[in-house]
Symmetry: C2
DNA sequence: TTGTAGGCGTTATCAC
DNA sequence: GTGATAACGCCTACAA
């Protein structure tokens, strides 16, 4: 067993109380004895046991991060942003992948509570009643990233997804496009990306373009879904551009178009969403709506740590700016 | 404060020992009292405090994962593989990004020890003496992923990097290439990828091709480095193909070639390494050496958990198979 | 089958 | 300034 505070106390010829005092730099300790303690610590290679400390202080200095899937292109950067600031404030993170499976989410929430994390950063698309009531019951500091809670008022950091999509589609329209397809999240899904569909509709409406269901394909954010989706649309109708709710979808779309001998952007414009790393190296480089991904993680973590420290949040629902990145997949 | 074992005991009218027994399903408890306890638990919404349990049992059921950077394309999948099996065995993971910074690595190692993790999965390229002696001092179950320790004999899971590179370059040669460039990790770096350079040299040698330093560019695994590297090489000499030690480098190379009006694979073959997601959606799809990334994480975690349970490892240094994936970036 | 009590390694409140 | 000592919440001999 590793050396404990007792061993240090014995070695330095003082009580454990004194050792604890120098450890935490609290109260006043005689310079001389302090030196003795420090030496004993070094000699024994003593390291405080944080588990024991946590039991006493009721804080673990670890934070849970719940995400759908770290191997999705989007989350690593959020997690990196979060971990970087956690690290600054001496917190560690426990990472949990849920695949958006409600059971798994609930399970992780419970375990995190049992492990006494000081707070959780939560990414999910369905804050359904069961989850919400569990969260309320478990009672930990929590901030939502990428989504918002309706009634419960859990602090959050997001972008204005509806406006972002609106801006993207408007851009497409300004380029002279009139038959704009949509591939991505449907409105039935209660999450951030569903807002994008509303933005799409609004932009069409505002510009007196009619919504044609043949140009709409609802699916999740994977390249192969984009590939399939565009083929379905092409088999039904003609289009001049496509608005995708993720860069991965856009990549699938472009690959499908290429296989059909259709050029991007000469023949058709395609726009992505998120501005993931892939978007900047793909050929053609993707014109896309950029979310400040890293910042969403770091700001979310900053808020969470404030909450843990009972500090007041200036803003409970941060809406970060999005940006349209013009590259080569639109004319 | 949340309900504790005491509250449950009081509620059920038994001692805490009995509650503990039903909690851990140990010893024999009368069916009737057991039922009372279970009901009390449910009524109070009691959840055991794992921190307290850990202090007693000296196991936290959490494992540290140390990686260079989760936002690098390579690591999310390893982490996912690791977390999936950790989850199966009721472990959680603490994620630590080091950017390969030695100070950070040491810091995390110490904190993980203080937080009493049961073991660590370690990814680094430089197992330098300081780190090694710290590891020895800290004494935890550890497995190395992607790299091996020379002397210390820390269990590991890797592929045969030298052979993999040898196979890749041989493939290029068989396709009729004779002036094969190399862009990637240099041999000074003491890590897995350095072995790839040796494989490259060996393949040339075996086929009586001379090594031309003008065709070599050492750099780290980023697309922009590939972009720069190939331009440097092209300014000095002529080549017919390029072996890259990462897919990201290959992507940068291809983008640079395209900007120079050189076609891939018609004019030049380029081969990647790792078979990251990007490789399968990029245009042209990358011919590359596939590492079983997910498996490296999951197998590493399996080994680690065995070690934690004091079970014997059948194999201390797993060498997983690599595979040459033929796609469209080579003729 | 059940209860009592000691201890895991700390912190923090008392006295001295 | 320093030292006992009681928690923190749980597990586990040992008794009963």
């Amino acid at each position: 067993m590793a050396a404990s505070i007792k061993d240090v106390a014995r070695e330095a010829g003082v009580s454990i109380a004194t050792v604890s005092r120098v450890l935490n730099d609290v109260d006043v300790v005689n310079e001389e004895t302090k030196k003795r303690v420090v030496e004993a610590i070094k000699k024994l290679g003593y390291r405080p046991n944080i588990v024991a400390r946590s039991l006493k202080t009721q804080r673990t200095r670890t934070i849970g991060i719940i995400i759908p899937d770290i191997s999705n292109q989007f989350y690593p950067e959020i997690v990196r942003g979060a971990e970087d600031v956690a690290n600054i404030y001496d917190y560690n993170i426990i990472l949990c992948n849920t695949d958006l499976n409600i059971e798994k989410e609930m399970e992780y929430l419970k375990v995190l509570k049992e492990k006494m994390v000081d707070g959780v950063l939560y990414m999910s698309n369905s804050l359904e009643p069961n989850i919400l009531s569990l969260i309320k019951q478990l009672q930990f500091p929590m901030v939502l990233v990428e989504s918002k809670s309706k009634g419960e008022d859990i602090p959050s950091v997001t972008i204005d997804n509806e406006k972002a999509a609106y801006d993207g589609v408007t851009y497409l329209i300004k380029k002279g496009n009139k038959r704009i397809a949509y591939i991505g999240a449907g409105e039935d899904i209660v999450n951030a990306s569903a807002m994008r569909y509303r933005g799409y509709k609004k932009a069409l409406e505002k510009n007196n373009l009619t919504l044609d269901e043949n140009r709409i394909y609802f699916t999740s954010s994977r390249a192969r879904n984009g590939y399939k989706g565009i083929n379905v649309i092409l088999s039904k109708t003609k289009i001049d551009s496509i608005f995708c709710t993720s860069d991965e979808i856009a990549v699938g779309v472009i690959n499908a178009l290429r296989d059909n001998g259709i050029r991007v952007p000469e023949d058709i414009d395609v726009m992505g969403f998120n501005n993931v790393y892939l978007a900047s190296v793909f050929y053609p480089k993707l014109t896309t709506i950029s979310q400040p991904i890293y910042d969403m993680g770091s700001i979310g973590m900053r808020m969470l740590i404030k909450m843990i420290n009972k500090e007041k949040l200036e803003e409970r629902n941060y809406i970060l700016p999005h940006e349209l990145i013009e590259r080569d997949s639109c004319k």
